[in-house]
């Protein structure tokens, strides 16, 4: 069935003009990363404050008031949109912190605020009726009913889909909602139970929804011994690598565990999503924006990924049906991929 739908998508006539290209939405964990995204062709950057109101709350990362203002000015000066992620869930007794973050984003003049929590969506909509709102991937809306609810109640204009849907399912959502759909195009994959994942809490008591970070660094230990390196999360052995073996960040879902006498990636292998191969299909079904994961990565990563995806998108305008993935693009992306292997994730899985 999935194959049939894919064939149907592929057999449609394919003409492309620049305005039909989806927005390229790139990560910014620092001002230099923001500038790298803008300078290398991002249509929009997304960023967050230096606190737990966003899901990349890592030590030393993100923006304070000054760098935030500088960043917005820089991006807008070059015609690039700024999307503010306030995509964690307000914690008991501290709702005011999240509301202040929303008010601050509006004052800064960001183009949209990316929210996950229903209470916060309600606050933002009623307090700032003119502000454009996006539904975060952390909002975990995978069906058009959920997205249409957010549209009806909070006038959400765009939803970021969790990375669990096949391409045919993404198309089904798009056909049944007036809300713009944003999908992930590149970046590290995890178990992808976005917005509902408590695996990190199981080992550390802290998770993206509560503190804004999966597997916070203070619990991570790289234990190097001759011939091997162990990685532990709050004392729990997550993986063990030989000296020349590529390593990964010790999140619980990407660890190797012993299950019934066999040691393997029991939940998910460390891989990166890479949609270059199916870019024409993604555009044909009407995706409005393609998101790059990785606010925790360096400006060098942002430069490499933004430049590559920009080149691929632009080539579609000229090449149309003759679009093909250049080996240099794949090489550039493979270099920065976690686990050194790229997949199409759920997009081409046979299950529905």
């Amino acid at each position: 069935m999935a194959t049939l739908v894919t064939l149907r998508i592929l057999s449609r006539p394919f003409a492309m003009d620049r305005s039909a290209l989806p927005d390229l939405v790139c990560p910014a964990g620092s001002l230099p990363a923001l500038k790298a995204a803008v300078d290398n062709g991002a249509d929009a950057v997304y960023l967050g404050y230096k606190n737990d109101t966003n899901a990349r709350n890592f030590a030393g990362l993100n923006f304070d008031a000054k760098t935030m203002a500088d960043g917005v000015r820089y991006a807008h000066g070059k015609g690039c949109e700024v999307l503010m992620a306030i995509n964690t869930f307000p914690q008991p007794g501290r709702v005011a912190d999240w509301r202040a973050a929303v008010d601050g984003a509006v004052d800064l003049g960001v183009d949209a605020i990316i929210l996950a929590d229903v209470g916060l969506l309600d606050y933002a909509r009623s307090r700032h009726p003119q502000q454009r709102l996006h539904l975060s991937v952390q909002g975990s809306a995978t069906s058009y009913e959920a997205i249409n609810f957010a549209h009806r109640e909070f006038d959400v204009r765009r939803a970021v889909l969790p990375r669990v849907l096949t391409l045919a399912q993404v198309e089904h959502v798009i056909r049944n909602t007036p809300v713009e759909i944003e999908v992930f195009g590149f970046g590290s994959l995890c178990v992808m139970n976005e917005g509902r994942c408590w695996l990190s809490s199981y080992a550390t008591g802290e998770s993206p929804n509560t503190v804004g970070a999966c597997s916070p660094a203070k619990y991570v230990k790289w234990d190097k011994k001759p011939g091997q390196m162990d990685t532990r999360l709050n004392g729990v052995l997550i993986d063990r690598f030989a000296d020349d073996e590529p390593a990964g960040y010790p999140t619980l879902c990407k660890g190797r565990f012993e299950v019934q006498g066999e040691t393997y990636y029991a939940l998910e292998e460390p891989t990166s999503l890479n949609v270059l191969e199916i870019l024409p299909d993604i555009i044909k079904i009407g995706v409005k924006a393609i998101k790059v994961e990785g606010r925790q990565r360096s400006p060098a990563y942002v430069t490499q990924v933004t430049r590559t995806l920009r080149a691929a998108l632009d080539s579609l305008v000229n090449a149309g049906e003759r679009y093909h993935v250049k080996p240099t693009w794949q090489a550039e992306l493979a270099k920065v991929s976690e686990g050194n292997q790229a997949t199409l994730g759920a997009y081409n899985r046979p299950w529905r």
Partner: protein
């Protein structure tokens, strides 16, 4: 990052490290801490991150030159450690080419770390603070500050 020139991955011949290891190591620490203090003075290192380094000890080791710098950050200054005691709180170890690639923003330190070309040992959160602090340095911030120095001479006053 530079589009025209890329730093290749390379490893210096083994004899360089064998000689380098036998040379005094303190000049590396003095040079590195001088550079870090200059950067801090220019205000390009975020102060909230700097405060979190207080009292911590660091080692930067370049495998293929045989060079190593041990230093600490205390009382607002990076200071060389001439006789480091015990394991540092944080150690970065790699070949010269990896350090150059990171410094030039050509490669992402995460990529090098995951590919085992850059070793980071010790306090992971401290490592993240340092990595993110270096990532947050905006080279364009240097430009307005540096040329101002000679303009302070009396005869250049307009």
């Amino acid at each position: 990052m530079s589009q025209g020139f890329t730093i290749p991955k390379f490893q210096l011949p083994g004899f360089i490290a064998r000689i380098g290891e036998k040379l005094p190591q303190w000049p590396h620490a003095v040079a590195l801490t001088t550079a870090l203090n200059a950067a801090a003075k220019l205000g390009v290192l975020p102060e909230d991150s700097l405060a979190q380094l207080d009292g911590k000890t660091f080692v930067v080791q370049v495998y293929d030159t045989g060079g190593q710098a041990a230093f600490t950050y205390r009382g607002g200054l990076f200071r060389p450690l001439f006789r480091p005691a015990g394991a540092p709180d944080l150690a970065f170890r790699a070949n010269l080419s990896a350090f150059l690639q990171v410094a030039a923003r050509q490669e992402d330190p995460d990529t090098l770390f995951f590919n085992r070309e850059l070793s980071i040992e010790g306090d992971t959160e401290l490592g993240l603070i340092v990595k993110n602090m270096l990532d947050a340095i905006d080279p364009s911030q240097f430009r307005p500050t540096l040329p101002r120095l000679p303009l302070n001479l009396p005869f250049s006053r307009r």
